[in-house]
């Protein structure tokens, strides 16, 4: 995926798009904290899932894009699910047949709980990241007082992530174009050589970026960032989202 594809829906004219990233980030964190602090799944989880979906709809971003990004949690959940048959049943537990296995009812409930929490949180992260250009996220972090060195590193990581992935993809293509079909140890050694080569290029790039920065007067200090005040619309969004998130949480008590 290219950066263009990745940030395709990040800029838009919708109200949600125009909300300050500081506000979106705050709402996101509040959302995640509230969802993860729930005990048990159920209808509250469905209500929480509705919030990012609502935002996606309001921003007129294709739902598919958000859901696809949120699915990143599935492999981990599937891995954890593999252990379901091995959970010893608790006292008075119901045993539930699941394919060739019987699994502990309590274990299954716990698994459903954590997996749905993971999905709902990932949905919200995906909504945030699909609808916010990363440059705005960086500004927000800077204004929240994140260490300048950390923000600079984060910004460079994101900037070159896509460039280096393209470089890696070109190397892989060049390897496979030569009819490569290695296995086992030999394959791992070839892969290692490619990783090393990619690192050398990365390192050279790092040196040249450093020179390009130094040539323009970079001394290690972060450049200043004018602070922009929040608009009325930002406050409205913050209040509404926080109220919605809190209400669901209170109703679940």
């Amino acid at each position: 995926m290219s950066l263009w594809e990745f940030e395709r829906h990040a800029r838009g004219a919708s109200l949600i798009h125009r909300v300050d990233a500081r506000v979106k980030l705050t709402a996101l964190l509040f959302f995640i904290l509230m969802v993860t602090s729930l005990s048990g799944a159920g209808w509250t989880m469905a209500l929480y899932a509705a919030l990012p979906l609502l935002a996606t709809g309001a921003a007129r971003v294709p739902l598919r894009i958000v859901i696809l990004r949120a699915l990143a949690v599935i492999p981990f959940a599937a891995m954890a699910g593999l252990f379901l048959p091995f959970i010893p049943p608790a006292y008075g537990d119901t045993l539930i047949p699941l394919g060739p296995f019987t699994v502990s009812g309590a274990g299954l409930a716990r698994f459903a709980e954590v997996t749905s929490k993971a999905l709902v949180c990932a949905l919200c992260v995906a909504t945030f990241s699909v609808m916010t250009p990363f440059s705005a996220t960086l500004d927000a972090l800077r204004r929240f007082g994140a260490p300048p060195a950390f923000v600079l590193t984060l910004s460079l990581a994101y900037r070159y992530l896509f460039t280096l992935r393209e470089e890696a993809a070109r190397m892989i293509r060049a390897r496979d174009a030569r009819g490569y079909a290695g296995r086992g140890l030999a394959a791992a050694m070839v892969a290692g050589g490619m990783v090393g080569a990619l690192f050398l290029r990365t390192h050279e790039r790092g040196e040249r970026i450093y020179q390009a920065m130094a040539a323009r007067g970079f001394t290690g200090a972060a450049s200043s960032m004018p602070s922009a005040p929040l608009q009325a619309a930002d406050w409205v969004f913050l209040t509404l989202s926080a109220a919605g998130i809190a209400l669901i949480r209170i109703a679940a008590l």
């Binding site: 390009a212 323009r216 200043s224």
Partner: protein, 234 residues
């Protein structure tokens, strides 16, 4: 006549022992436009980097009257804007605007002052409308122009350009040459593009193996078959 850049006995050895520059002497007058010719590995890029003290060197360099050393290099880097060959090295910020604002901000300018300069530089390269984009989203030709804008915003008195037309299609190349022709600054341009040298630079300096092999009128140098043969440029 005032010298923009004067180098005497300039040598540069890379840590692996490669002697990339070997006693280079040259002077460039203020307002002059000089092409730096030479085969791959001749030392062009290295020379540009040493002129603003980005590589350790031996010998003497004077930039707008000030001898180049640790204490003066900040000033030298302000006076000589360096544009790298690969624009991906130069455009490292989240947005094009931030990239162009990087230099002015490092100079400690007010944000309002920075904004004026950024707008002027981006308009000069016709990329003002793309200011919110990430460099990754630009075409290669746009990236090359954007890289130029990142030093135009610093109001440098001299520009050192490393292969400004390499990798450009014919039209983007013509646009770049026209853009450079309109700049008032002293120019030193490392290039393999003879047409660019002929169009922009009355004078050329040819490097070979880290030494100055020829220094004179561009027209004479690029029509000297024997010389080009020796330089590996024929």
């Amino acid at each position: 006549m005032n010298h923009a850049i004067a180098a005497a006995g300039l040598s540069c050895v890379y840590p692996d022992g490669t002697r990339a520059l070997d006693g280079v002497s040259l002077t460039i007058a203020e307002g002059e436009r000089v092409a730096l010719l030479g085969a791959n590995g001749a030392g062009k890029s290295t020379l540009l980097l040493t002129l603003v003290d980005l590589l350790p060197f031996a010998g003497a360099v004077t930039v707008f009257g000030a001898p180049l050393n640790r204490d003066t290099r900040r000033q030298a880097r302000r006076c000589v804007g360096l544009v790298f060959q690969n624009p991906d090295d130069q455009l490292f910020s989240p947005t094009l605007y931030d990239d162009v604002a990087f230099g002015p901000r490092q100079m400690g300018l007010e944000e309002a002052d920075t904004a004026t300069r950024v707008e002027r530089a981006l308009r000069a390269v016709e990329l003002w409308d793309a200011r919110a984009k990430n460099a990754f989203h630009l075409s290669f030709g746009q990236k090359k122009r954007a890289a130029l804008a990142t030093v135009l915003s610093m109001d440098a008195r001299a520009l050192a350009l490393d292969e400004p037309t390499s990798g450009l299609d014919p039209r983007a190349r013509r646009e770049m040459i026209a853009l450079l022709a309109a700049l008032p600054a002293t120019l030193i341009i490392a290039t393999h593009d003879f047409a660019l040298a002929a169009a922009l630079c009355p004078r050329s300096v040819a490097l070979n193996g880290g030494r100055v092999a020829a220094d004179g009128p561009t027209a004479a140098i690029i029509s000297d078959g024997n010389l080009l043969d020796r330089l590996g440029l024929a």
